[in-house]
C-alpha cells in the first residue's frame, strides 16, 4: 500500500516544482520550506503581492500538518523504513499563472468525516461569508487542543479565493490519506 501514497507524492511533485518535502514535519523543515518558497518566488521575479498571498497560505498549510501529523499505520512505517516517525508531505508547484500547494497526511475515519464536512462547508461560502466566519472564530477565545486557533482552513480559503480540491484515499480499514490542494492564482 505504501507505494500508492509515495506514488501520490511523486505524482504531485511532478511539474514546475517550487518546494517540496516528504516525511516528518518539524520547525526546521518548516523554516527550510518557507525560505525555499520565498527565495524561489523572489528569484523568478514574481509579483510581491502574489508572493505574500502564497507565503501566507504555505505557512498555514505546513503548520497545519505540523500540528496534526500522526504516526502512520504500522505496515507503512515498516515498508517505508520510517523508524516510527510521523509522515506527511507538502509540495508546491507552479500552475499556469498561479501556484498550487498540496498537502497529504494520514487521518482516521472519524477525522476524515469531520474534515470533509468542514471543507464542504467552507467551499460553499462566498468571500464575504468567509470574512464573517473568520471574525467570529477569531473572537471566540478558543484554542484547539493542538494549540491552533481553528482559523487555518478559513484563512487559506479566504486568501486563495478558490475552492479547496481534496481527496480521502482509503489506506486500510482504519486510515485514510487526506490530500488537500489549494490554488493561488
Amino acid at each position: 500500500m505504501e507505494a500508492n501514497i509515495h506514488g501520490l507524492y511523486e505524482k504531485f511533485k511532478a511539474g514546475d516544482l517550487i518546494a517540496t518535502h516528504e516525511g516528518v514535519i518539524n520547525p526546521k523543515v518548516i523554516d527550510d520550506f518557507l525560505a525555499k518558497t520565498e527565495d524561489t518566488l523572489n528569484n523568478i521575479g514574481e509579483n510581491p503581492k502574489k508572493i505574500r498571498k502564497v507565503y501566507n497560505i504555505v505557512v498555514e498549510a505546513i503548520q497545519n500538518l505540523f500540528h496534526h501529523q500522526t504516526v502512520p499505520p504500522a505496515d507503512f512505517i515498516k515498508n517505508m523504513g520510517l523508524d516510527g516517525d510521523k509522515y506527511s508531505f507538502c509540495t508546491m508547484v507552479k500552475e499556469g499563472m498561479g501556484y498550487k500547494i498540496i498537502t497529504g497526511n494520514f487521518v482516521n475515519y472519524d477525522v476524515a468525516r469531520q474534515l470533509k464536512q468542514r471543507i464542504e462547508q467552507l467551499n460553499s461560502l462566498s468571500h464575504e461569508e468567509l470574512k464573517n466566519l473568520y471574525k467570529i472564530v477569531l473572537d471566540n477565545n478558543e484554542f484547539t487542543e493542538k494549540g491552533g486557533g481553528g482559523l487555518g482552513f478559513i484563512e487559506m480559503a479566504r486568501k486563495s479565493g478558490n475552492k479547496f480540491v481534496y481527496d480521502f484515499v482509503k489506506y486500510d480499514d482504519k486510515y485514510k490519506f487526506f490530500v488537500l490542494e489549494v490554488l493561488v492564482n
Binding site: K49, L138, D139, F143
Partner: protein, 127 residues
Amino acid sequence: MDSINIEGTPKTPTISFDAETSVIEIKGRSIPENSIEFYKPLVDWLDKFADVAQGTVNVNIQLEYFNTSSSKCILDVFKKLENLQNRNRAEVVINWYYEEDDEDMLEAGEDYQSILKIPFNMVEIAE
C-alpha cells in the same frame, strides 16, 4: 516597571513594550508554531501595565506576515488595551501599518477594528 524588548527573528516579531513612554510596538513577522508561548509574557505585561498606565498609549503594529494562531494572540493584546481604555486608565491609539499594495494586511486591520472599540489609524507605507 520594566520594559520588554525582544529582537525579531524570521518567525517572531520585534517587540518593544515601554511603560515609561507608553509606546507599544510589534513589528516584523509573527509566524511561530507556538504563538501562545510567545505572546503570553506580553499579555501578562499588559495586565501589570494597566495599573500604571496614564495619558495616551501609542500602539504601533507593523507586521509583514502573521499566522492564524498569532492572530488570536494579537487580539488578546488588543483586548487588554481595550480594557485599559474602558477602565479610563488611558487613551489608546492603535496605528496599523500596511504596505501600499498589501490589501490583505489592510483588511486584517479592519477585521480587528470591527471587533474592538478602540480607535485604529490605518497607516499606509510607501514601498
